[in-house]
């Protein structure tokens, strides 16, 4: 499994619309996992100053992350593979 960040520009988005998007992401990931294509939404960070959202996903490849976001109908600008660093691992 690899980690990916999905970047989105969501100007003017409300906290409720973010909640709705999160629900859609969660349910689409669950469905794809049931289909045998495991995708997991890990967490998201909303950057209020730039109205950008960075969402972290775990999946075998970028195509699966793209499909999950398209099926959840959440717009995105980039999907980039990332390396995970945590305080416990350094």
């Amino acid at each position: 499994m690899a980690n990916f960040v999905v970047k989105r520009d969501l100007p003017g988005i409300t906290p409720e619309a973010l909640q709705s998007a999160g629900f859609r992401a969660k349910t689409c990931c669950a469905e794809m996992t049931e289909e045998g294509q495991p995708v997991r939404w890990i967490r998201s960070f909303f950057l209020p100053e730039t109205a950008q959202t960075h969402c972290y996903f775990e999946a075998p490849n970028a195509a699966a992350v793209k499909e999950a976001n398209e099926r959840a109908r959440i717009p995105f600008t980039h999907i980039i593979e990332v390396m995970e660093l945590t305080p416990d691992a350094v």
Binding site: E16, Q19, F23, E67, E70, R71, A72, R73
Partner: protein, 205 residues
């Protein structure tokens, strides 16, 4: 999975079953109705709906293969509205009653139900209120047994909270022998049996 996630999962499955590329508010409505149904019969407010008459085979094992439907924009709007309703309700997340209220003004299946049964917005919302109350009562009642079984043994802090005393006071009672307590073998942690709490209480007069 939460009940709301199960509703969404059913909506996706229903779209697959019908070979749809997009999941519409119709499938979500059927998902909500199925979640609150028993043997294919939905009792909601003053209405009784038969899932079979609405085209849902409630006994069928869903086949998840084949098409990979996406949420339609109309359904995204319903989810957005449901999230706003949930916020207005002071809820932590979107529940089935929020989805049902958000679906009321939709055309399609909801429009047909509105027309056939003469459903007003106020009646529909009132039925959703009834549903949320009934489900919350169930939730409150369900964990009681579990709560008691996991708290047979309390930490001094939990015992203090149960008695309405300061933790220091409880530790003093333990030191003086007024409150029986045990040490977890080989550890510093102290545990008090819930039934021993009454030993520090005496009746008035």
């Amino acid at each position: 999975m939460t009940d709301t996630e199960l509703v969404a999962a059913f909506a996706i499955t229903q779209a697959k079953r019908c070979g749809l590329d997009e999941i519409t508010p119709d499938e979500l409505l059927l998902g909500c109705l199925r979640m609150i149904s028993q043997f294919g019969i939905v009792t909601f407010g003053r209405w009784t709906f038969d899932l079979e008459a609405l085209g849902v085979d409630w006994l069928e094992n869903p086949d998840r293969k084949g098409v990979k439907p996406a949420y339609s924009q109309a359904l995204v709007d319903v989810f957005d509205l449901a999230a706003r309703i949930a916020k207005a309700d002071g809820a932590n997340g979107i529940r089935i009653d929020h989805l049902l209220v958000a679906l009321w003004s939709e055309s399609g299946l909801m429009g047909e139900l509105r027309k056939t049964y003469g459903i007003t917005s106020a009646e529909w919302r009132a039925a959703a209120v009834q549903l949320s109350v009934a489900r919350q009562v169930k939730e409150v009642e369900a964990p009681v047994e579990k709560r008691e079984s996991v708290r047979d043994y309390l930490s001094p802090e939990q015992a203090a909270e149960a008695l309405g005393l300061h933790a220091q006071t409880v530790r003093a009672y333990i030191r003086s022998g007024k409150l029986p307590a045990m040490r977890v073998a080989g550890e510093r942690a102290i545990r008090i049996r819930r039934e021993d709490l009454e030993k520090v209480l005496e009746p008035l007069g």
